[in-house]
């Protein structure tokens, strides 16, 4: 007898329905052993492609928040103590497949969430995230992995208090990156996807796919879209205005210190 069935695992034993009254801070499921109603702090995410000015803004915001008396912690992709080095090594080879890479990035994300973000929020820090799982969803979805699978994967992630999306045209991002490092990353140009042998073309095509994913994510998660092509000072002023309103900071005047003055152009 050959039972008719789908050839993918699902279902399983009857499960209890999720408890009524969803927790506000996660996307549907709490992390095992974590009660996310117990802690405060603020989680602020900045998303945007390489060359959109994310890192610059995070440096400036960190200084501003510290000058206002807030303790700041940062996170980003591939920064976990657990697997960051392994992902670097895997990316250097080209034997890794998309599911494995997706799950290694998820491990990296949750390790930082559990060992860095949550302890910081418990200590009332402002956590500035230089990208969040949204980028991971966009990249994996652009490579054909189902979106609902990916949202399920990150169901235990914390909902940010604010998410900013720095928008730049791929052409502008390409130029900025090229000026900075005289090269474009293999992965950031989606070269594993064989879109084009021309690096510039590949970059533009890949970023267009990523952008499409981000547009859907922006709507679903209520991103605050910002013009990443405006000057650093303009973008920074807008970010400060929103963050100040969230944190209850009255005065938002800020000039970077000498150490960061070079970023202010």
């Amino acid at each position: 007898m050959k039972p008719s069935r789908s050839n993918r695992i699902n279902g399983g034993p009857k499960q209890a329905p999720p408890p009524a009254g969803t927790t506000p801070r996660n996307y549907g499921l709490p992390l095992p052993g974590v009660n996310d109603e117990e802690f405060g702090g603020s989680l602020i995410v900045i998303e945007g492609m390489d060359g959109s000015g994310r890192s610059t803004q995070i440096s400036l915001l960190t200084e501003w928040l510290e000058s206002e008396g807030f303790a700041v912690q940062t996170m980003g992709l591939r920064r976990s103590g657990l697997v960051a080095k392994d992902i670097d090594a895997l990316l250097a080879e080209n034997t890794i497949t998309r599911m494995t890479l997706t799950l290694m990035y998820a491990t990296d994300f949750y390790d930082q969430l559990e060992h860095r973000i949550i302890p910081s929020l418990r200590s009332d820090f402002v956590v500035l995230a230089d990208r969040y799982f949204y980028t991971l969803i966009a990249r994996a979805a652009a490579r054909g992995i189902q979106r609902d699978y990916l949202h399920g994967l990150y169901e235990m992630a914390l909902r940010p208090d604010l998410t900013f999306w720095l928008n730049v045209r791929p052409e502008v991002a390409f130029e900025r990156e090229f000026r900075k490092s005289h090269a474009i990353s293999y992965w950031e140009s989606g070269r594993d996807m064989s879109l084009s042998n021309d690096l510039f073309q590949s970059f533009i095509m890949y970023q267009a796919k990523i952008r499409k994913e981000f547009e859907a994510l922006a709507e679903r998660h209520g991103f605050l879209a910002m013009d990443g092509e405006a000057s650093v000072a303009t973008v920074n002023a807008e970010l400060r205005k929103r963050i100040a309103a969230h944190l209850g900071i009255q005065r938002t005047h800020y000039r970077p210190s000498a150490a960061l003055a070079s970023l202010w152009r």
């Binding site: 039972p3 008719s4 069935r5 789908s6 050839n7 993918r8 695992i9 699902n10 279902g11 399983g12 034993p13 009857k14 499960q15 999720p18 969803t22 996307y27 549907g28 499921l29 992390l31 095992p32 052993g33 103590g81 657990l82 697997v83 392994d86 895997l90 034997t95 890794i96 497949t97 998309r98 599911m99 494995t100 997706t102 799950l103 290694m104 998820a106 491990t107 949750y110 390790d111 559990e114 060992h115 189902q146 609902d148 699978y149 949202h151 399920g152 994967l153 169901e155 235990m156 709507e219 679903r220 998660h221 209520g222």
Partner: protein, 251 residues
């Protein structure tokens, strides 16, 4: 916003029979046979004997084990040594490891018409990670890319029998293996026993929903093996995996 998010939760639990994910339909000529059960249930011995039987018969087969991909080995080792792993990252690392084997070995071999034998499969993760308090819903979604086995043998032995087999042969239990991360007991052997009991209960939960073929792990090895071979023959047309006869060279 809440509305959009709640749909994501709903779509995770897809109804049975919905074609999904990497493989739109069951479209491969191969077959997948897996063994599951707690440590000491005798499953590895039985799968080894099944493999020997098929190897001696010349069938096209491939044997794969849980947790054997070199790709994520260093991360797992580091996480275990330094005790950095939480239930979530423990689960994700093993899923990454499985995904690597699945995408690079299991699926290509099934498409290439091999009989694939797996010592432990995703049910190991379901049982063990739920015993660690991971959400069953999250886990079922996590492993959605895995092909469903043609046969899942579940070797069921009473907890005491299985634990005694392990304790008499391998007294040094590792930290995570013994479930010490869950503070079940300060005594490693006692913690192991409690953890294995929880895993056993999770396996039992899946017998019906995942169509396990329950095997009595207390029976003599050769008797159990006879049952196993008979069941495989009744369920899978082994001639599909028989050595291909080469066309005779014309003289």
């Amino acid at each position: 916003m809440t509305g959009a998010d709640s749909t994501s939760t709903a779509t995770v639990e897809l109804p049975r029979g919905t074609p999904q994910f990497l493989e739109p339909a069951r479209s491969y000529p191969g077959a997948l046979v897996v063994v599951e059960g707690i440590d000491g249930s005798g499953k590895s011995t039985q799968l080894y004997l099944l493999k020997r039987w098929l190897e001696i018969g010349g069938y096209r087969l491939h044997f794969t084990e849980w947790n054997s991909s070199p790709l994520v080995k260093s991360a797992t080792r580091r996480g275990k040594q330094r005790r950095l792993l939480t239930p979530t990252t423990f689960s994700l690392l093993h899923a990454a490891d499985f995904a690597d084997r699945c995408e690079r070995q299991i699926l290509p071999l099934l498409h290439g018409g091999y009989l694939v034998l797996a010592d432990r499969y995703v049910y190991t993760a379901f049982a063990r990670d739920v015993a660690r308090n991971c959400s069953p819903r999250w886990l079922r979604n996590l492993y959605r890319f895995a092909p469903i086995p043609d046969i899942t043998f579940y070797f069921r032995a009473p907890l005491d029998v299985a634990v005694n087999r392990i304790m008499s042969g391998r007294p040094k239990l590792k930290y995570y293996e013994a479930g010490m991360d869950m503070n079940l007991s300060l005594d490693r052997a006692e913690s192991f026993r409690i953890f294995q009991g929880r895993i056993l209960a999770q396996y039992d939960e899946m017998i019906e929903s995942d169509r396990f073929v329950v095997m009595d792990g207390t029976l003599p090895v050769n008797k159990l093996q006879k049952q196993m071979r008979q069941f495989v023959k009744s369920r899978i047309d082994l001639s599909r995996f028989a050595p291909k006869k080469m066309a005779r060279r014309p003289r």
